[in-house]
């Protein structure tokens, strides 16, 4: 074990954990004032529920052993339940830092992934249903997909698709689930009729700043060491975010006449999403291309919800699903041997495409079923009156802002 690598992974874990509050504010600023606490809560609760499940069984099912199906590893086993046998060594993963740090680092990814979904169902989903949903979703969707890609499962081991820090596991996974869940949930009252504006863009901008900051742990930590690969992932992350943000506001300027603050930070997040699978496989110029593509394509993808008439309230599909797919595919073309040992090729692109299809299909399908069942069992949508008067008061008996007392 090496103290420097350990230090960096500890720090990366803290950074990624901090992204969930960042995401909460990124989303929270975009909803109406009457729903801001409900939005924050839907994110923060993932830090509670997912942690408990991860320690009890999630980590084990993802990273301990393999259960095979037709020769392919599809899930881990229960040997590590409760993390009882983790100890203080690095025997389990053989990484240059302790196993408990690796479990912690991975936990932070397991937390933010379901939290990402919450943007799609903003301002109308019941809190209890949400809490139950993410518990089930973590175990039935996140854990298997993470196992397939990073835990020795068939996407990583057999298809040999690349996913540096979570294009498949985090962004496509969350984006596909968001789409399925919002289809079951239906649009907000007043969708496309009323003006539904962000109540506090400064909160959104703050959240984006925290996300950007935390993403260095997300991608930089995914090198699993404090070395030049981490440095490269760090740098490509910055370049992609910067380029995507800039591209987005330039596109906005052309199309709407004005660059917007929300556009800049949305572009930044799109760039961060798209570089996630690729961060360790491309160099700074490759990252710039990915960022450019992310800024333009995700900006364009905002129209999908108009074209297909679904209420993806905070654009999880346009940013995370589209951005995640984009990055996963572009990496198949832009990967350079010198950075991560892989070169872009048609064959790699094919493997990437296959993995994208699998992750999307699995996440969309299973999430749809979970949502339908939950809706039948407990109802997942808040009452219309509660939605109108606002979820903060209706679901949490709290007022977000009381300015004149």
């Amino acid at each position: 074990m090496d103290s420097g690598h350990t230090a960096w992974l500890l720090m990366s874990s803290a950074l990624v954990l901090f992204m969930t509050p960042g995401l909460a504010f990124f989303y929270g600023g975009m909803v109406r004032a009457k729903n801001v606490l409900a939005m924050l809560m839907k994110n923060y609760v993932a830090m509670g529920v997912v942690t408990i499940l991860w320690v009890l069984v999630g980590a084990s099912l993802t990273f301990s052993g393999s259960t095979t199906l037709g020769g392919y590893s599809v899930i881990g086993d229960f040997n590590l339940w409760g993390l009882r046998d983790l100890g203080l060594s690095n025997d389990h993963f053989g990484l240059p830092y302790p196993d408990n740090v690796h479990i912690m680092f991975q936990l932070t990814f397991a937390i933010i992934t379901p939290a990402l979904i919450s943007g799609a169902i903003a301002e109308r989903m019941k809190f209890t249903a949400w809490a139950v949903f993410i518990a089930i979703w973590s175990l039935l969707v996140y854990v298997p997909v993470a196992h397939w890609v990073w835990g020795g499962g068939f996407i990583g081991a057999d298809i040999e698709a690349l996913d540096f820090a979570g294009g498949l596991v985090v962004h496509i996974n969350a984006g596909a689930a968001a789409l399925a869940l919002l289809m079951v949930l239906g649009p907000r009252i007043g969708f496309r009729r009323d003006i539904i504006r962000p109540h506090s863009l400064p909160l959104t901008v703050l959240g984006a700043g925290i996300l950007w900051f935390g993403w260095f742990g997300f991608n930089g930590g995914s090198a699993f060491a404090a070395d030049a690969a981490a440095g490269n992932a760090f740098l490509t992350t910055q370049v992609a975010a910067a380029t995507a943000a800039t591209a987005w506001i330039i596109a906005e300027g052309f199309i709407h006449g004005k660059p917007t603050t929300l556009g800049f930070v949305s572009g930044a997040v799109a760039g961060l999403v798209a570089i996630t699978p690729a961060a360790g496989f491309v160099g700074p110029l490759g990252a710039m291309l990915i960022g450019l593509a992310a800024g333009l394509v995700c900006f364009w993808a905002l129209r999908l919800k108009i074209m297909f008439n679904f209420d993806d309230s905070l654009d999880v599909v346009a940013v995370h699903l589209v951005g995640g797919i984009l990055g996963s595919l572009l990496l198949g073309v832009l990967a350079e041997e010198a950075y991560g040992g892989h070169s872009g090729s048609l064959e790699l692109l094919g493997r990437q495409a296959l993995s994208v299809v699998i992750a999307f299909a699995y996440s969309f399908g299973v999430t749809f079923v979970i949502a339908k069942v939950l809706d039948a069992v407990m109802g997942i949508r808040a009452a219309a009156d509660d939605e109108r008067s606002g979820l903060d008061l209706a679901l949490h008996e709290e007022q977000s802002y009381v300015m004149a007392e």
Binding site: I195, E397, Q399
Partner: protein, 112 residues
């Protein structure tokens, strides 16, 4: 001329404004308010302390109209704002002695 004041539910504002526009009203002013009335309030809970808050958020709109348009305005607000549940709000009609358009100095009905 009359000043017509209405206390309405915030989420009806857009519809009411559009209806009034159609009814021929050339302007109105809206203000955020807290209303107390028959409509029951709500409970808020902070760290175990439960508070009964009996003021609910309302929007107070006011419209200056000439006498002939007044009944139409009242009817329009009434029909657009009515849901039939407690808290739909009230309309009050006050007499106005004069109205001045600042930009032009016009007075009375011309100023509307």
């Amino acid at each position: 001329m009359k000043l017509i004041i209405a206390y309405i539910n915030p989420f009806r504002l857009d519809e009411i404004r559009d209806a009034l526009k159609e009814a021929g009203v050339s302007g109105l002013t809206a203000i955020n308010a807290q209303g107390f009335g028959r409509q029951s309030g709500h409970t808020e809970t902070y760290r175990g302390a439960e508070y009964e808050v009996d003021m609910v958020p309302k929007v107070r709109i006011e419209v200056l109209v000439d006498d002939t348009l007044a009944p139409t305005v009242i009817d329009t607000i009434e029909s657009t704002a009515r849901t039939g549940s407690i808290g739909d709000g009230k309309i009050a009609v006050l007499p106005v002695e004069d109205v001045i358009r600042i930009r032009t100095g016009e007075r009375g009905n011309d100023a509307l």
